[in-house]
């Protein structure tokens, strides 16, 4: 049922190359989930989230400090090794210093026709955040228009907003199927769908997802036996990890990752000024911890997800050396535990120490469940 999404997840570069051949359109690499995809889609550009591929590599040492996170190293390695050679442009919305350095090194070492650093408010709870982003998005729009040679009309922007929102709505519906006592899909399948939505043409992805949603109620395969878990933390597109977690007796039913719910959770509102609507959307979306100080709006949001999806426990997983997440981990663990959700903390590297993670995950599940043993 989810094989198309698995294929898109696995063969991401082939997909983007074929899309380019088929449509003649341009493809932009996006370095963060804060990049306003609506504007790119409105300009008929395919936004492709740039991710790592979880392989050891030796090409980034001269570019990044040793204490920068493994994700930013892995991402840069993809650029330096030419894996994204089909990109016409790259863009980043400011989120963290590590990824910005990745972007800068990529920009200097991998030629593209278009590069754009989009300043983005770091204090999203500030009343100045929307007006600030509004002005920046206008400049970004102008840069995109200059690149394509075609001004964006309100109709174009409406179409961009609609296509992205429709995809978000479909992803929401998919997640709703994970809420009940018997989830209709595994966490691994959900990851294939959500992560692939970050590079597959929105219309095509939504259409495929709608087909799956229409059949999901009738699905015979059951996922109700596993211990219901939530994953919270930094970027996570590691299917080997989630596969292992579900193989030892869990079902992952929701998450707070920028490759998961943070990416699609809220829609762009309908406003007369489309750029203002987009600015509001990206300021008000579930916050990355890099942008959530001092308010920490993500804590009650995460708690609500844990309650709505009725999870038994939460795995907090972060990229090693990810400072924003690291700063949140201690208070977030206490907050979740005070509210009745046991937690397990794990740290990702480029490759995952699977044996170590497996025993911790199994012991965590035993801690949550195994009353039979007493």
């Amino acid at each position: 049922m989810f094989s198309q999404f698995e294929t898109w997840y696995r063969d991401r570069h082939d997909y983007a190359r074929r899309w380019k051949e088929r449509t003649g359109g341009k493809v932009f690499g996006c370095f963060c989930s804060y990049v306003p995809e609506e504007i790119l889609v409105a300009a008929d550009i395919l936004p492709v989230r740039v991710l790592g591929n979880h392989e050891p590599q030796d090409v980034t040492e001269q570019h990044l400090f040793g204490m920068f996170c493994p994700f930013c190293r892995d991402v840069l390695a993809q650029g330096l090794k030419g894996r994204y050679e089909y990109l016409d442009g790259i863009t980043i919305a400011q989120s963290c210093i590590h990824l910005r350095q990745t972007y800068r090194s990529w920009e200097e070492n991998v030629p593209h026709d278009f590069t754009y650093y989009l300043p983005h408010p770091m204090h999203v709870a500030s009343p100045h955040a929307v007006p600030y982003l509004y002005e920046e998005l206008k400049k970004f729009r102008a840069a995109v228009e200059q690149f394509t040679g075609k001004p964006l009309s309100d109709d174009d922007l409406d179409r961009g907003i609609r296509l992205v929102n429709e995809n978000r709505a479909a992803l929401h519906e998919l997640y709703a199927h994970r809420k009940g006592p018997v989830p209709k899909l595994s966490g691994l399948e959900a990851m294939w769908v959500t992560v692939s939505s970050m590079w597959v043409d929105k219309e095509e992805h939504t259409a495929e997802l709608r087909k799956v949603l229409a059949q999901l109620d009738e699905r015979e395969e059951q996922f109700g036996d596993g211990t219901r878990l939530m994953l919270v933390g930094s970027e996570n597109d590691d299917t080997d990890f989630i596969r292992m977690v579900e193989a030892v007796g869990a079902t992952v039913v929701t998450d707070d990752h920028c490759t998961g719910t943070r990416y699609f959770w809220n829609e762009t509102p309908e406003l007369d000024d489309r750029i203002e609507a987009i600015a509001k959307r990206y300021v008000e979306r579930p916050a990355c911890p890099a942008k959530d100080h001092v308010a920490r709006t993500r804590f009650p949001h995460i708690l609500k997800l844990a309650r709505d999806f009725d999870v038994a426990g939460v795995i907090l997983i972060q990229q090693k050396f990810c400072d924003p997440h690291e700063a949140d981990m201690v208070p977030l663990r206490s907050y979740l535990e005070e509210n009745g959700f046991p937690t397990l903390f794990l740290e990702f590297d480029v490759t995952v120490p699977m044996g170590q993670f497996r025993i911790r995950t199994e012991a965590f599940l035993e801690m949550l469940m195994e009353e039979d043993l007493f």
């Binding site: 046991p342 740290e347 120490p353 044996g355 170590q356 025993i359 911790r360 199994e362 012991a363 035993e366 801690m367 195994e370 039979d372 043993l373 007493f374």
Partner: protein, 297 residues
């Protein structure tokens, strides 16, 4: 052949006053760790026999060898068990086990049996990792932390040091206490680097006891930080091989300001013991295996 100073005592034991045939339930636990393997046999929930030996390169064989040794001269075979639980790194490779349970849960349960229901914090100092475990009065895990990725502060590290200094592993703890003044701990947390550092100290003329004190002290401090992170609650107890090393235990107790409970059994069998107790609980919940399976010993 050079003397292997790291070699600890491998042995088996059985309660010779007990006739296992009169027991209504026989359960087993097999702990295949990264360095050592143990098999425990329980008759009606009481310890009847066990073995403790080095793990070989092959987990299924290690499990089988440990169990066969525990059963030696008992007249019992694997077919006589009602249920066997495998644990440790090789837990999924115990061919005759009915279920695998993590060593974290098993050490908590085994520690509860060995030290009594008042124990709330168990430190398992194993061959290649350390686990700080909090548990309730039944021995059920309530929280835990493991060291990361590296063998520093573990049994294997201590074996490396015993070999380097030419001191039998059983004597390392006592010898490390034979210093007038506590030296600074070795600074490297990696076993390989710590070994290089120790070689340097020996070249500088440090006596063996002082080098051992520096290493035991570093190891105690390393596990202290793990315990501090999980939040130690009394009573406190230690399982695993390093629990036998007074050089580490005394220093750790001092740093914690807590005295570890004294063990009634070999601390290395805690995991297998917990596994056998879980096997008993599972039989009581109606999960006994079919007897007389065709597993050859």
């Amino acid at each position: 052949m050079a003397k292997e100073y790291w070699r600890w005592k491998e042995y088996n034991w059985q309660d010779e006053e007990r006739d296992w045939r009169s027991a209504s339930m026989i359960t087993g636990g097999v702990d295949v760790g990264s360095v050592s393997s143990q098999a425990v046999v329980m008759a009606d929930g009481e310890l009847f026999a066990f073995s403790n030996m080095r793990t070989g390169s092959d987990s299924p064989n290690s499990a089988l060898n440990a169990m066969n040794w525990a059963l030696e001269n008992t007249g019992m075979t694997i077919d006589d068990f009602d249920f066997i639980v495998g644990t440790g790194y090789g837990r999924v490779n115990v061919p005759f086990a009915d279920k695998a349970i993590t060593e974290i849960a098993c050490h908590a349960r085994g520690g509860n049996y060995m030290y009594g229901p008042t124990v709330r914090t168990i430190l398992d100092m194993g061959g290649q990792d350390c686990k700080a475990i909090l548990c309730d009065e039944r021995g059920k895990v309530t929280n835990f932390l493991m060291n990361d990725k590296c063998a520093a502060g573990t049994g294997r590290g201590m074996e490396v040091f015993a070999d380097l200094l030419g001191i039998p592993i059983e004597e390392v703890g006592d010898r490390s206490l034979q210093v007038e003044k506590e030296p600074p701990p070795v600074s490297s947390t990696c076993v390989v680097f710590a070994k290089s550092e120790a070689a340097g100290l020996l070249r500088d003329g440090w006596p063996q006891s002082k080098v051992l004190a520096a290493y035991c002290s570093a190891m105690a401090h390393r596990v202290f930080t793990l315990l501090e992170r999980v939040g130690v609650q009394p009573d406190f107890a230690i399982t695993g091989g390093i629990a036998k090393n007074v050089g580490v235990v005394n220093r750790l107790e001092e740093e914690l300001g807590l005295t570890a409970l004294k063990p009634k059994h070999d601390t290395q069998i805690a995991g297998a013991l917990g596994a056998a107790l879980f096997a008993k609980a599972l039989v009581e919940k109606g999960k006994a295996r079919k007897k007389k399976t065709s597993v050859s010993t």
